[in-house]
């Protein structure tokens, strides 16, 4: 059950569009900074496959210039 956080940088002039595009993806929670035109994204997905799909979708958005992964955690008990 992976949890991750990202910093999202929009393509020029696409900040609002980026927020709209990302908000429509399930498992995404956005913390935007409208002054600096960047956003922190926290993702919560049920399994590794969903997480991979979400990452692929994020990277494919035209409104997103760069998605930088900061934190990732996947549950596992020894």
């Amino acid at each position: 059950m992976p949890i991750a956080s990202w910093i999202l940088f929009p393509t020029t002039g696409s900040f609002e569009q980026m927020l709209h595009d990302v908000e429509s993806i399930e498992g995404c929670e956005l913390l935007p900074d409208s002054v600096k035109q960047i956003a922190v994204l926290v993702t919560d997905t049920p399994d590794a496959r969903s997480d991979k799909e979400l990452c692929d979708r994020l990277q494919s958005l035209e409104s997103v210039a760069q998605a930088a992964l900061v934190f990732a955690h996947a549950e596992e008990t020894p």
């Binding site: 956080s5 913390l31 900074d33 002054v35 900061v70 955690h73 596992e76 020894p78």
Partner: protein
């Protein structure tokens, strides 16, 4: 998904957001998130409450946040003078230790060879019945209890009162015997009172830090960061690492000096020789505040059952001390220790320079030592020769490995010879305890009980028939483990284990009692610098789990000791602590009242007139000391003892058959036997199993590369470990190191139970071993 999972995921998401927002703050100056987001990222509107860390003896203050009865976040407490908001990797993950999926939540009783769940009441009834039955059949001294420095102060106090005041039985020990008793006997023989004279403020004053066989970068990382901070802020500060192995501490030090195992005794005497030869001693201090003493030599290694060594100290003179030190010229010590004469002179110049304040620090390297008491004495000698003691920055400082090794085991009477104040052999001390306990003084046995190794040997011989283990894991930590594990399985032995997770010790139990852990109950710990810290119950314990001290009281009640424990489950922590304070009342060891502890991030004792004493034995700082100078009031002559103690070799040294030294110890990520930290996924993944560190030259000669299997054989057995070559620790050629946290690779199957005959503390750092590629 249960509520715990939801809250835990919320917490993880908050942490994820916090990490990203912190990164943005670095990358994009001026970035500002909405107030809600910032709050969510910073603390999620959480309510934080204080608790000392559950792990090592540093005693870091933590803040824990709770939501819906679950601990969801932890951080260092900025108000704590110990760690000033910092925490190490274990502290930052401390709350996860509460939520391993195999927590013990039910009592278990062995039926037809299997541990099966039973109601807690049934298990406690059985424990009480067995204590009664075995005591009647084999005598009261066939009962023993074994706890640890993880006992809270109230729980250890209850154990002490129950065993010594109610049952008249002194077979009560804590696993501090395995890690701190040489420090205790070192303090007692040098100063007549236990525990450091200084405090952590010394880190802010010292110019020179000398670590003796100690790796604080991994074992006490927050304190090591204070040394590094001091160094960063002052150009003349130096860190000197004296050790037998290269560690992370060595790399961060200004000078790293390697000595051969057990030769720290010679090294300390060599430094003392040079101080006197150069006239760097403080003659005024020596004349007014020091008595020179000597004791027996060739004192053995405690390898024989029931060996009962007693030292016979006699006073001697400084002239005789000078004569004795002629065997320890730098050149002679170089031959014994491998440390160059130039480095011995360099070390003497640091201790001997009157303009430099010196802090010596040690932990297991000096304590787990067949001459542990002696090497403690010899390092004190260096501070006594130069008068660098008990003033800010001049501080011989014995660090502890457990959260309440000092506060509980060393102070409330859970060692076989101790009472909460004083010792069982002293009639006045027995009367003092009996009066507070309101028990007949005759009930307190004047004969010390069995020390830890002898309790387990007694279990093997049949002298001990009932053993109750709480808050420790001896089936991982005892040396020469095979003998003691097999002892527990002998006929007519009954073992009770109170713990929070299944361990190799619960595996050998007849009854397992589920314990409430850390913030699942109220408690108090006492750390390395005499600081007492209180915390409240912050989350409910799972299932039938209940505090260890309350388990003891339940059994005591069943045995008829209701008058001695007229407390409830809700108030016993406070009542037991208040009663314990009566034992220590006075300027020398007065404890802070619980009301003051609740308001503060810990208060060191002696606590006199609402104020903690930072430096003992000096009139400027210590209300118990007379005059405006040093007063070592622990000794009858008000002087500290400077000891003549020779170098003697280890119990077992490498030979043709077993040509390597074997040393054991800890790693940063795992605490003690690993039963908690191995259940914290991030720590487990960081160091998932034990390994054997080899010197690269030895590895090359044997054709071993990192990860290869290596067979270790001692006179106790054979085991195979993966090799670590050029890892975080690098032993010297002819030496290997193995961490002991891994219950699947129990290195203590191979270690020896030789111990210091004075402190009875085993030496886990030195035995001989054969090393082969497997």
């Amino acid at each position: 998904m249960n509520p715990t999972d939801t809250t835990r995921r919320s917490f993880l998401k908050q942490m994820a957001a916090a990490a990203a927002i912190s990164t943005v703050a670095e990358l994009v100056p001026g970035a500002a998130f909405a107030g809600e987001a910032k709050e969510k990222a910073s603390d999620g509107g959480l309510h934080w409450q204080k608790a000392p860390c559950r792990f090592c003896g540093t005693g870091c203050g933590l803040l824990v946040a709770v939501e819906h009865g679950v601990a969801v976040a932890v951080k260092g407490d900025p108000a704590s003078p110990v760690n000033r908001g910092l925490a190490c990797v274990k502290g930052f993950h401390a709350i996860l230790a509460l939520y391993g999926k195999d927590r013990l939540t039910n009592a278990l009783v062995r039926k037809n060879g299997k541990l099966v769940p039973v109601p807690l009441k049934e298990a406690l009834d059985l424990v009480a019945a067995k204590m009664k039955e075995i005591s009647a059949k084999y005598g009261k001294d066939s009962i023993a209890m074994y706890g640890s420095g993880q006992w809270t102060i109230p729980d250890g106090y209850v154990a002490s009162k129950f065993m010594k005041g109610c049952l008249g039985n002194n077979n009560l020990e804590g696993n501090a015997r395995l890690c701190m008793s040489s420090a205790v006997t070192g303090f007692m023989t040098s100063f007549g009172m236990d525990e450091p004279m200084g405090c952590y403020d010394d880190f802010d004053h010292a110019d020179i830090f000398v670590t003796w066989g100690n790796n604080p970068a991994e074992m006490h990382p927050v304190l090591f960061s204070r040394m590094l901070e001091r160094k960063q802020n002052s150009a003349n500060v130096k860190l000197i690492d004296l050790s037998t192995r290269t560690t992370r501490s060595s790399h961060a030090s200004d000078k790293h000096i390697i000595f051969k195992p057990n030769t720290d005794l010679a090294l300390a005497n060599g430094i003392a020789h040079e101080i006197l030869a150069r006239g760097w001693q403080n003659n005024d201090f020596l004349a007014k505040h020091v008595t020179v003493r000597k004791g027996k030599t060739n004192i053995g290694y405690g390898l024989v059952d029931k060996e009962n060594f007693k030292d016979e100290p006699v006073a001697t003179t400084l002239d005789e001390y000078r004569e004795f030190l002629k065997d320890y010229t730098p050149e002679k010590v170089e031959k014994i220790s491998g440390v160059s004469a130039a480095n011995i002179r360099y070390l003497a110049s640091l201790y001997g320079d009157p303009s430099k304040r010196v802090m010596s620090l040690w932990c297991m390297g000096m304590n787990q030592h067949v001459r542990g008491t002696w090497i403690n004495n010899l390092v004190y000698n260096l501070h006594l020769l130069t008068g660098k003691i008990a003033t800010p920055g001049n501080s011989p400082f014995s660090l502890t490995g457990q959260p309440s090794a000092c506060g509980t085991v060393r102070e409330v009477g859970t060692l076989a010879h101790r009472l909460p104040h004083g010792v069982v052999t002293n009639e006045e001390d027995r009367k003092h305890a009996a009066e507070i306990w309101q028990v007949p003084v005759e009930r307190i046995n004047p004969k010390p009980g069995l020390h830890t190794v002898e309790i387990f040997r007694g279990l093997d011989r049949g002298d001990i028939r009932f053993l109750w283990v709480q808050v420790t894991n001896p089936m991982v930590t005892m040396p020469k483990l095979k003998r003691y594990r097999e002892a527990t399985q002998k006929e007519d032995r009954f073992i009770v284990v109170s713990d929070v997770y299944p361990t190799p010790t619960t595996e050998i139990a007849d009854v397992v009692l589920p314990s409430a852990m850390w913030i699942e109950r109220e408690g108090l710990f006492g750390n390395s610098e005499r600081r007492t810290q209180h915390w409240n119950e912050l989350v409910p314990p799972p299932g039938d789990a209940v505090a260890d001290g309350w388990q003891l009281i339940e059994v005591a009640h069943r045995l008829g000791f209701t008058k001695e424990f007229p407390w409830t489950r809700e108030n016993y922590n406070e009542k037991a602590y208040e009663e314990y304070c009566k034992h220590q009342a006075g300027k020398k060891h007065g404890m802070a009242p619980i009301a003051d502890l609740k308001k503060n991030p810990g208060l060191p004792w002696p606590y006199v007139n609402g104020k903690s004493t930072k430096w003992r034995y000096h009139g400027k700082f210590d209300p118990a000391a007379s005059g405006n100078t040093w007063d070592f009031y622990g000794n009858a002559d008000h002087r500290a003892n400077l000891w003549l103690r020779p170098y003697e070799p280890a119990a077992e040294s490498p030979d043709k058959e077993f040509p390597f030294w074997l040393c054991t110890g800890r790693v940063l990520e795992h605490w003690h036997s690993g039963s908690m930290t191995r259940r914290i996924p991030v720590l487990h993944r960081a160091v998932p199993h034990a390994y054997v560190e080899l010197n690269p030259a030895d590895a090359k000669r044997m054709g071993v590369v990192d990860g290869d299997k290596v067979r270790l054989t001692t006179r106790r057995g054979t085991m195979v470990f993966p090799a670590s070559v050029d890892g975080r620790g690098v032993p010297e050629p002819g030496q290997v190191f193995v961490p002991f946290f891994d219950e699947k690779l129990l290195i203590n199957e191979l270690t020896l139970d030789a111990h210091c005959p004075i402190s009875k503390q085993p030496d886990y750092k030195k035995c001989s071993v054969r090393v082969e590629k497997a």
